[in-house]
Amino acid sequence: MSNRDYSLFGPDAKRAVESGLTAAEWYHTEVPRKVMKDLMARSDQPAIRDTIIYYGSMILLAGIGIALWPSLWSIPFWLAYGVLYGSASDSRWHECGHGTAFKTPWMNDVVYQIASFMIMRNPATWRWSHARHHSETYFVGRDPEIAVMRPPEVAKLILNFFGILDVIAFVPRILRNAISGPTPEERTYVPHSEWGKVQRAAIVHVSIYAATIGLAVGTGSILPLMVIGLPRMYGAWHHVMTGLLQHGGLADNVIDHRLNSRTVHMNPISRFIYWNMNYHVEHHMFPMVPYHALPRLHEVIKHDLPPPNRSIAEAFREMWPAIKRQVMNQDHFIRRDLPPTAKPYREDFHHYVPGMMPPSAAE
């Protein structure tokens, strides 16, 4: 069994580069250019509609929560508001960070900035970490966005359903960004020209939190924090639940998204919150395709993909036992079967890092 070192400066990071893994070409399903152009086409209309519903619902729910405060009757409204604040912001951050949600660039930028604030990510650093996540998805020591590191620490995964570890990590980082720009680790993937932006964005975020905390202290009430800040914790569960499913229990150090990503059919409310990122293999294979076209893309390439999980519950039933097994055996992973119509996995592509993914470890 091999021990994984997720540090961006560690031996696994070095090995991934030296072995050629980071330079290897990812597998793509063949899609005719005309079809792909049609799928990639941008449009403002779906995202404007969704954004009006999204922010409109947030204002309404927070308004009712404030009106009913401090009655217990306000709780359901805070819970719903929290999910929009602490979970739907993750998918807005993601889609607008790619620049695919809207056709008009400033609309992507505005929603991206707001979402970054709500999800507690520095907008000027996470854009870059996400680029790395796409180039080197689940390469140990290279991908800074690995949600389930092996061996998994189950207690930590559970704490994060309430955003606890994320917030604990965020506070010193954003303060440090505000004082001195990116951390040494962030400097490995944020280009030098962007370091000033990292600091400026952090100063804005810190100022808003300081004003909110000041208001809470001044009024002697946590109500301001119920609106800004705390929903990142009490509403985080949905994005953690869907986020774990993206890659949890699947292979690492491979260059085929069919092996390391998971597509899950979900109910329409979760799909609205998650902005269709349940089509996760499709998104990783073709990041140019906007969220609203992912269901169509799925239809075009599903013959070449493992069958999607049919529900969130079914996907958890597949993933959770694998995560538990990885506690004892970190080489263990779920190997998903391909339909007979699919191009087979290129086994020789998936053994760049010796000892990392022996086929015997697969289910």
Binding site: R33, M36, K37, M40, A41, R42, H98, G99, T100, K103, P105, R127, W128, A131, H134, S135, P191, S193, E194, F286, P287, M288
Partner: protein, 103 residues
């Protein structure tokens, strides 16, 4: 500097691009929505991905890997994560052929 016959004008749809390889180098040739033709280096300056799988929107080309954007007329990097401009090459159309002046 030689002008090389690269492709026919009809080989590229309007508002689209193709990959063109020549003398061990790879290029991208664009057909703009105004009917003009342009050429740039074929690989994104961020992580050397072929731009030919990307998307042309007006005067921009978007890289298929991380959605970085360039103005393909000037090569200017327009959207993160691309920071380094793309090299451009002169293009002329004679009849129904597109010529690129490769340096």
């Amino acid at each position: 500097m030689p002008w090389i016959d690269a492709c026919a004008t009809t080989d590229i749809d309007e508002e689209d691009l193709i990959r063109w390889d020549h003398a061990g180098k790879t290029f991208a040739i664009y057909h703009s929505p105004d009917g003009e033709f342009f050429a740039t280096a074929g690989l994104c300056t961020h992580e050397n991905v072929h731009l030919c799988d990307g998307l042309v929107m007006g005067n921009l080309v978007e890289c298929p890997k991380h959605n970085g954007q360039f103005d393909y007329r000037t090569g200017e990097a327009m959207r993160a994560p691309v920071c380094v401009n793309l090299r451009t090459f002169p293009v002329k159309v004679e009849g129904d052929r597109v010529f690129v002046e490769v340096a």
